[in-house]
């Protein structure tokens, strides 16, 4: 079977000052994980469980450890060993062939964020989602200080080949 993965999407990075001024915008590639492709294929023939990214969505925006069993966006810092934080995740737009979720995290100290993951059903036992949708390494690290807010907006689009 031919692999029909099309050119990956884009990462648009915006840094907005407190007064609303945008001062940085970057773009980069990304890819969809096999987990969700498998779940979608299975759903066409089996009575599968829900695998949406808003099933028990993360609801903390204060740089807390991801909650077991919840879903949404997680960010990673550059510490060793790495620290993982959940983002308060919500649906901000949905159409017939796309949807957009937004994750919010508010810093009360310094952090350096290097990547983000989108998925369903976080497991603290295996430190991974049971259905990983996509992950992305930021083109450059994001340094946050007390009072900064990080927003990650993730848009998924589905299309006929």
């Amino acid at each position: 079977m031919e692999d029909r993965v099309i050119p990956s999407g884009q990462v648009k990075i915006e840094v907005i000052k407190a007064n609303g001024q945008k001062f940085l915008e970057l773009e980069g590639p990304n890819a969809i994980h096999l987990d969700v492709k498998h779940q979608m294929a299975s759903a066409c023939v089996l009575a599968t469980g829900a695998f949406g990214v808003l099933v028990s969505a993360f609801d903390n925006d204060t740089f807390t450890t991801p909650t077991n069993g919840e879903s949404g966006i997680i960010i990673r810092d550059n510490a060793s060993p790495v620290n993982l934080y959940e983002m308060q995740t919500s649906l901000i737009d949905d159409n017939t062939t796309d949807f957009t979720v937004k994750g919010v995290a508010r810093a009360s100290q310094n952090y350096t964020i290097v990547s983000a993951i989108l998925g369903h059903g976080w497991s603290t036992g295996v430190t991974d989602f049971d259905t990983r949708f996509s992950d992305h390494d930021f083109a450059s690290n994001i340094s946050l200080v007390d009072g900064d807010q990080l927003n990650v907006t993730w848009k998924i689009t589905i299309a006929n080949s």
Binding site: H38, A43, L46, T48, F51, S134, A159
Partner: protein, 206 residues
């Protein structure tokens, strides 16, 4: 300071349709009289439902479950039901558009009794729907039917979906509400008496 990162991530749904015609005497189906491998058009319904599953927050789903084990076509022809819908109404599966009548629907919609011919050939035999393997991102439906009418038929289209509902008002319709995919630009081919039309339909999440 607020940092906003926006990601756009596309997923493609790709369908491949393997069409073969065998003489029924070819018991092991080794020598197809017709062999066509073509792509499908994934229907908006399926794309929308898959999209909903990705962001949905419901605890379970079964809306797009299509399997040869449940609710599949049970006959090859539309037959003559004497009703405004065929005997296959509400069933699921793969249907071929043919230039021959396979049955009739009849009813009075207010202007007197009318009859409409149905030109659909349902694939209801040799069924299989393997469950996707643990890392598979594709699903395959296989079905076939024997054309046992004396007149040769020309096949000019294929549809796969749920809740078939051709009827007196819409005799050409197949799955208007829950269509998975179709092959619209099929090069027409003939099926003769005692031929078996076999279709293996594979959809891949790319």
């Amino acid at each position: 300071m607020i940092y906003t990162y926006t990601r756009t991530t596309p997923i493609e749904v790709f369908g491949e349709v393997d069409i073969k015609v065998f003489d029924k005497e070819d018991l092991v189906q080794m020598e197809p009289k017709v062999s066509i491998l073509t792509e499908n058009d994934t229907a908006p319904y399926l794309l929308e439902e898959l999209n909903k599953l990705m962001f949905g927050n419901t605890s379970s789903q079964s809306s797009i479950q299509l399997t040869t084990d449940t609710g599949w076509f049970t006959d090859r022809y539309a037959g003559t039901s004497g009703e405004t819908y065929t005997t296959q109404d509400g069933k699921n599966g793969i249907v071929a558009h043919v230039n021959r009548t396979t049955g009739y629907v009849t009813g009075d919609l207010g202007g007197g009794v009318e009859t409409e011919a149905i030109g659909h050939f349902y694939l209801f035999q040799g069924l299989s729907t393997p469950n996707p393997g643990s890392t598979d991102k594709h699903v395959t439906w296989t079905a076939q039917s024997e054309w046992d009418k004396e007149l040769t038929a020309t096949v000019n289209g294929l549809d796969i979906g749920k809740d078939y509902n051709a009827g007196l008002i819409q005799p050409a319709t197949t799955f208007d509400q829950e269509e998975f995919a179709s092959v619209e630009n099929l090069s027409p081919f003939d099926i003769e008496e005692d031929d078996i039309l076999k279709v293996t339909w594979t959809m891949t999440i790319g």
